[in-house]
Symmetry: C2
């Protein structure tokens, strides 16, 4: 929460409802991202409490990511008292218009007696399935007026299995050559991967999922590549694609002379499970074969000392990451190499950026740590992206949350260096080059972390990184390691 004057009655009420835990965040984008992280890990909605249109505005980017993750999320937004709206005070704005940019579920409370019913509807809307960002806008006078009406307890609707026809169509398709299975949504967990492995020879996973099972000992289901020049050949021989809580794969960005859809023209899309259905159950219904014997790779060893590169850093992470940990990924240009290494780590889950809005990683790690106090959370964060919502560090410190943050300090908006070449724009000259250079002056992440109350250290060699990261894995509480990449 990051409340203001219009939300003071809500805050005061925390005293009377101790089961409601308030986590103060020093910027609203931390609230919305943390609620997303909480939902991804627990499957239940967290609530955010934000202040009027501008407070909501600051949360929108991570609400956008939550929307694309299909995370259930209850967004409570205070509004001026209704008689005050006509005076056009400085903070007056169209709160519902802000809310609708990231959701179709926007409910404005109409009276004090309507607060309870409106909140119940909002919780139900958030649950879905699939989950969604559901807003409830609460005018201050309805907060401070008496009412004895409470809403009904919202009942969670469970995901249903798809109809038998859908399973039969998928089964028929699997008998043909050129058929692949694309897993998305919630159907990228360990059970779904195991069932998919018994079902088809060619299984792949979507990129924009809330949380995916990762690490060694899983059935290999590669992600559809990010860049079209890799995604297009990856999918070139697919003639039928069975979609499990997934959509047809698309390019993240458009480029001149490049298609938007990545599967070949004429590729048949066969929906086994929609986004609101139980894709994991559907895969288990479809699966017929015996469990597959998987290669039991041994844990990778620690890398030799040397300069800190993405490869050496990835090896170190893969060797040290604890089993059942939760990885919040906002590595951007560093992601591909590191995730390849992490596929050799102990079984864990990682949470990708779903909507492409920057500033998700640290808040999602914060919310994940609140949801799963017994699991180690590791935030793998690009230095450029980390700056958008670095205020998350303070809330981690305040609640001694068990999050280890690794900052990938390449001191560039490296992804834009790559994209500049790809979009066909002219090569950067020295002026344009400054617009992707975030190393002048260099950010000092150790100082930034100390400023927020989180212990921190810098690593410039593999040995230093390994020592700091191994220490962090043995301890409880927030730690930041600035990995200065060579």
């Amino acid at each position: 929460m990051n409340p203001g004057t219009s939300e003071m009655h809500f805050v005061a009420a925390l005293e009377r409802v101790p089961a409601m835990h308030g986590y103060l965040c020093l910027f609203e984008g931390v609230c919305s991202g943390a609620a997303d992280g909480y939902a991804r890990v627990s499957g239940n909605p967290a609530a955010t409490l934000l202040h009027l249109g501008p407070g909501l505005a600051n949360g929108l980017a991570n609400f956008h990511n939550a929307r694309k993750a299909r995370s259930p999320l209850v967004s409570i937004v205070g509004e001026h008292a209704t008689p005050h709206l006509k005076v056009d005070a400085p903070l007056t704005s169209d709160v519902a218009a802000f809310a609708r940019t990231v959701s179709d579920a926007v409910r404005t409370v109409l009276s004090a007696d309507d607060v309870g019913p409106a909140v119940s509807e909002t919780v139900a809307a958030a649950w879905g399935p699939p989950g969604q960002v559901a807003h409830v806008i609460v005018p201050a006078d309805y907060s401070w007026s008496e009412t004895s009406i409470t809403g009904p307890v919202a009942v969670r609707r469970e995901r249903a299995l798809p109809c038998d026809d859908a399973v039969d169509r998928a089964r028929s398709a699997l008998r043909e050559s050129g058929t692949a299975i694309l897993l998305g949504g919630t159907a990228v967990n360990a059970r779904a991967l195991e069932a998919a492995g018994r079902t088809g020879d060619r299984v792949m996973t979507a990129r924009n999922v809330a949380k995916i099972a990762w690490g060694r000992g899983r059935f290999p289901a590669p992600q559809v590549p990010y860049f079209p020049e890799f995604a297009l050949p990856f999918l070139a021989d697919v003639r039928r694609l069975i979609l499990v809580e997934a959509e047809a794969p698309v390019s993240f960005f458009a480029y001149p002379d490049t298609p938007g859809y990545m599967a070949p023209d004429g590729c048949e899309m066969i929906v086994l499970a929609r986004r609101d259905e139980d894709g994991t159950g559907a895969l288990e219904a479809l699966a017929s074969g015996p469990p597959r014997a998987l290669e039991t790779a041994s844990p990778p060893g620690l890398p030799q000392d040397g300069p800190l590169t993405l490869d050496s850093l990835g090896l170190s992470l893969a060797a040290l990451l604890p089993e059942d940990s939760l990885v919040a990924d906002e590595m951007v240009s560093s992601a591909l190499k590191i995730l390849t290494h992490l596929n050799q780590a102990a079984p864990h889950e990682f949470m990708p950026v779903t909507g492409g809005a920057i500033g998700q990683g640290l808040p999602v790690a914060l919310g994940a740590a609140v949801a799963a106090p017994g699991r180690k959370v590791v935030a793998l964060e690009a230095d450029g992206s980390g700056m958008y919502t670095l205020q998350a560090l303070w809330t981690m410190a305040r609640h001694n949350l068990d999050v280890t943050i690794v900052i990938f300090a390449n001191r560039r908006y490296r992804i834009l260096d790559i994209e500049m070449k790809r979009t066909g724009a002219n090569a950067f000259g020295p002026i344009a080059n400054q617009m992707t250079d975030i190393g002048t002056p260099p950010l000092d992440w150790v100082a930034l972390s100390h400023g927020c109350g989180v212990a921190a250290a810098r690593a410039a060699t593999v040995r230093q990184f390994t020592d700091h990261f191994a220490d962090a894995m043995k301890q409880h509480g927030p730690r930041l390691i600035e990995a200065v990449l060579s």
Copy 2:
């Protein structure tokens, strides 16, 4: 700017248009606030360059403030290439819906040939008068396609004087008792204040103005008080209010049993100049008396050493603030006392928070320093508010901008402690109390500043503060002082 893939052609073009200066900011709210500060000081629009809906979302809170300041501002927002919109990529959203939350001037480019005309229209719309936030949404394919069409050069429309009738009506009203003049908009500059002083006995200024003349040697025109319990008696005997680029005064927030409009029922509102008219010229047309002899107060002396309180800090600032400096004010609960002291400082201008959206102060100071390289900029910033857009420090360091930042570290959301009592919510218990406590753990602003490359020091006594601030006034370049309040 904080560009992304869809804006790469714009960035590349900086190489060919060296008169266009790009300032990279590490968070979009810094861009929008800096453009607002630039406009407030120069009167001309700066452009922001943001990336798709979520990038725009992060800029909205300070666009809201710019809107309420009537700042001219050109917001350029990249969009996916038009053929890509149908594939619903992760970053796809309704960009225009985000834009419309803070502006009615939203123009989407329709073809490559339309880029020039659309930008010209947008610049003209931004200028007004009054100024406004004008958005132009540019799909990537229209950026990367050839065109030979340029738009017409936008011509600035100057503010017109109000009609003679309006001046006559105001003149008649001034002959009656109980008439006061309320200055707002751009009519709070030194010329306007001087003319108002020759015109009427009772002159007051609106709070939500972009930039106001301040310091000793001005005609005393007190601001309408912030809280209703002070604003209501302040205006109780006003029977006619002459509005000069101002609206009828309203309460910032609503409270139980408190009216929204602050002037008494039946008070007549007489518009001398609308928001789009030349209020300063109108006051000069209205003014009849000779120049008033003003008290020539001598500069205040430095305070004795002792604990750092708002009073001793205010005295120190008032003694040391250089003439013609620009003060960005986001002191929130500390503002009243400090501004009272600053009214004894050398003549300067200060820039209040106009729209109530938090996170304006540091970005506005950044933009002001870009607009006025010869003037000292002083950002007076509450510790809570400063955290929303602290990334502004990095851009100040990068361009060695002459900004001195004073952080008022009371380690509370103090304004909410005050508002909690005022809204009639129950007194805070220990749980609710944590939601306004930002001192657990304490933020270390010296470390945060160093992290962004800005030299910094901490002051816990008046002597320490005076020494640091006097040093900063003698030097050029960014400096931060964390003033730990007793």
